[in-house]
């Protein structure tokens, strides 16, 4: 699709003055680097300020003020926050929620995306719309009935000690999967439309049933899109605190993000300690981002197919 490139004959109408630099030679990038470097530094200042705060003992900052040269630097705040607030336990809760929710979302979404992009049944566009729109409804709109629904739904005792979906990690996983499916389905269906149909024809002639086409052709081909979506979804699900704020009652079942609020309540007099705790909660998503960064952008071809 080489769309509407302007015809190079436009000179006949507007006698352009020849430009100072020949357009074929790439311009010097120094100015651009200065600008982008400056913006990047400004963008990192808030985070670096939190890092700086977390590295200083509380006594030092009370004596000299926060905006002062450090008199001692240590990781003491980190080890204190780690041991005094039960962080390992809350981390584990977050893992228990995030890992199944991300996998479930990607599996469900890829199945639906496969269906709508590979077959053309009459209702497919409507189905895709239903999924996509589901992710665009603000969470606050769902929360009241969802809360009541969770109080009515039983779960077996091995899944939830409250015997309900309410106040169980499962409930949080369910809503994450259902709510996030729309976004992933949308992105994946765009991605799958770019897979040449001939591959499926060949597979069918070879007698491969649909489920094998799905597991052995489509899923491996969608790896870049999965990397991008896994990054985004891990970040969103790990960072969520609205669902767990309302749908979990017992403090010790909360994920790390809501636990941080407890830490703030407990040590509100010591911002340095809280800064250390807050930064530690950010480490997992940063790791996921760095691990998948290479595929992240290339996999996010959001329906900008050429043509």
């Amino acid at each position: 699709m080489t769309a509407t490139a302007t015809p190079p004959a436009s000179r006949s109408r507007t006698p352009l003055a020849p430009r100072a630099t020949a357009p074929s030679r790439p311009p010097r990038q120094t100015g651009r680097h200065l600008m982008l470097g400056g913006i990047a530094v400004v963008w990192l200042v808030p985070l670096l300020w939190a890092v700086y705060t977390s590295l200083r003992p509380y006594s030092d900052t009370t004596r000299h003020g926060y905006l002062s040269w450090p008199h001692s630097i240590s990781l003491q705040n980190f080890s204190d926050a780690w041991s005094q607030s039960g962080m390992p336990h809350f981390f584990w809760n977050s893992v228990l929620i995030t890992v199944p929710a991300v996998h479930g979302t990607l599996l469900f979404a890829s199945a639906v995306a496969f269906f709508v992009s590979r077959f053309d049944f009459r209702w497919n566009v409507a189905l895709l719309m239903l999924f996509t729109a589901g992710n665009l409804i603000p969470a606050q709109v769902l929360i009241t009935p969802l809360y009541k629904l969770y109080l009515l739904l039983p779960l077996p005792v091995w899944m939830s000690d409250s015997l309900l979906v309410y106040n169980s990690l499962w409930g949080i996983i369910f809503i994450h999967i259902a709510y996030q499916c729309g976004f992933c389905t949308f992105v994946l269906s765009n991605y799958m439309k770019t897979i040449p149909k001939e591959i499926f024809e060949a597979a069918r002639v070879d007698g491969a049933p649909v489920w094998r086409q799905f597991f052995q052709i489509v899923l491996p081909l969608c790896r870049p899109a999965f990397a991008a979506l896994a990054t985004l979804e891990s970040i969103w699900i790990y960072n969520d605190f609205f669902w767990s704020l309302v749908l979990i009652q017992t403090g010790d079942k909360r994920p790390i993000t809501s636990a941080l609020a407890n830490l703030q309540g407990q040590y509100f007099t010591n911002p340095n300690l809280i800064a250390a705790g807050a930064l530690m909660t950010a480490i997992p998503t940063l790791l996921v981002y760095f691990a998948l960064q290479r595929q992240f952008i290339s996999g996010l071809t959001i329906g900008s197919g050429k043509g």
Binding site: M1, A3, A5, T6, P8, L16, P23, L36, G37, I39, W43, P46, A50, T53, T61, Y66, A109, A111, V112, F119, F121, V125, F131, A133, L136, P138, A139, Q140, V141, L142, I143, T144, L149, F174, I177, A178, C181, K197, G207, P209, V210, I235, N239, F241, F242, T257, L260, P271, A275, A278, T281, T285, L286, Y289, Q293, I297, S298, L300, G303, S304
Partner: protein
């Protein structure tokens, strides 16, 4: 319709009943029972989950908004028609300020962080050293959790010990600036924090869109003597319509949904003067001690209607080309 490229399957599993509207598409005839079962299961389960956990609550919210339910006993529920809505529009002091703040939020986000993110993406989408470092630095705020972001901005805006007052010399007594407490300032303070995140998000989305852009178009524009700015506005921007729509929808939805960052920076107690937003008013009414479920649901429906306008625009634009 570019689908009828298929030859009917060689094994010829003829359908037993072509009753349902003579299928135009031979491809589906090759689905045997195993295939059908597989597809029914893998599409059916997500569909049921979606209907049950998302669409059912959304519809229930609409129903509840016409009642005066307090969230306790179902027997006490009374049908009150449009009373909640009347009440909200005429007799609920925080409502109009919240609408105003949501609109302000949208305008701010659409006019500053969003174009800035697009600008950054355009600057970074070229052969450039360190481009990944720049991307990472600017996308970083999106990776951090809201709880962390909230805390980071708290130690910046803190009136006594914060970085901002320390730098501009407003920390000494007498010239205190209470960024998050002053109802005339706090919304702007939160908007800065929100824009800090939003720019990186838009940048990443737009970078992804630019990856699908044909570089030949850019070269053609350069040969015609178009400058960088002209190339962007005349060539790149119109060619990236699908991405532009996504950016627009993301911006509108994020502005309507804005909740977490305000909740955290407001101290986690609900709406505060100067920082009321629709999402916070909803949670005020349904999570607070006095649970006015009917009332909160009516607010939720108002938010839903506004969102639906954005959703509909997006869906129509996106799927129109698929229906052709």
């Amino acid at each position: 319709m570019s689908s009828v490229r298929t030859a009917p399957g060689p094994e010829g599993t003829a359908p037993r009943s072509p009753a349902r509207g003579q299928s135009r598409r031979p491809r589906q005839r090759s689905l045997d029972r195993g295939d059908r079962l597989f597809l029914t299961v893998v599409v059916g389960i997500p569909l049921l989950a979606l209907l049950f956990f998302v669409w059912l609550p959304a519809l229930a919210s609409i129903g509840l908004s016409f009642t005066n339910w307090d969230g306790l006993a179902l027997a006490d529920m009374r049908w009150v028609g449009f009373d909640n809505y009347k009440e909200i529009f005429t007799n609920y002091p925080p409502f109009w300020p919240a609408v105003e703040h949501n609109v302000l939020w949208l305008l701010f986000t659409a006019l500053l962080p969003t174009p800035f993110g697009v600008f950054l993406a355009y600057q970074l989408d070229r052969k450039l050293r360190f481009t990944r470092i720049y991307q990472t630095a600017i996308f970083m705020p999106m990776v951090l959790s809201l709880a962390v972001v909230g805390f980071i901005w708290e130690i910046i805006y803190n009136p006594d010990t914060g970085l901002l007052n320390g730098v501009i010399g407003a920390a000494s007594s007498g010239s205190h600036i209470d960024w998050l407490g002053d109802p005339h300032l706090n919304l702007w303070a939160v908007l800065v924090a929100s824009g800090w995140r939003h720019s990186g998000y838009i940048m990443i989305l737009y970078l992804a869109g630019l990856k699908g852009f044909d570089p030949a178009l850019k070269e053609a524009a350069a040969l015609d003597g178009a400058g960088g700015r002209q190339t962007f506005f005349r060539v790149v921007l119109p060619a990236l319509k699908p991405v532009n729509i996504i950016i627009l929808v993301v911006t509108v939805m994020e502005s309507l949904r804005a909740f977490d960052i305000v909740y955290v920076l407001g101290g986690g107690t609900g709406s505060k003067p100067g920082m009321q937003l629709l999402s916070l008013l909803i949670s005020d009414n349904i999570i607070g001690e006095s649970s006015h479920i009917g009332y909160g649901s009516a607010l939720a429906v108002i938010l839903l209607l506004v969102s639906l306008a954005a959703i509909a625009t997006f869906l129509v634009q996106t799927f129109r080309k698929e229906d052709q």
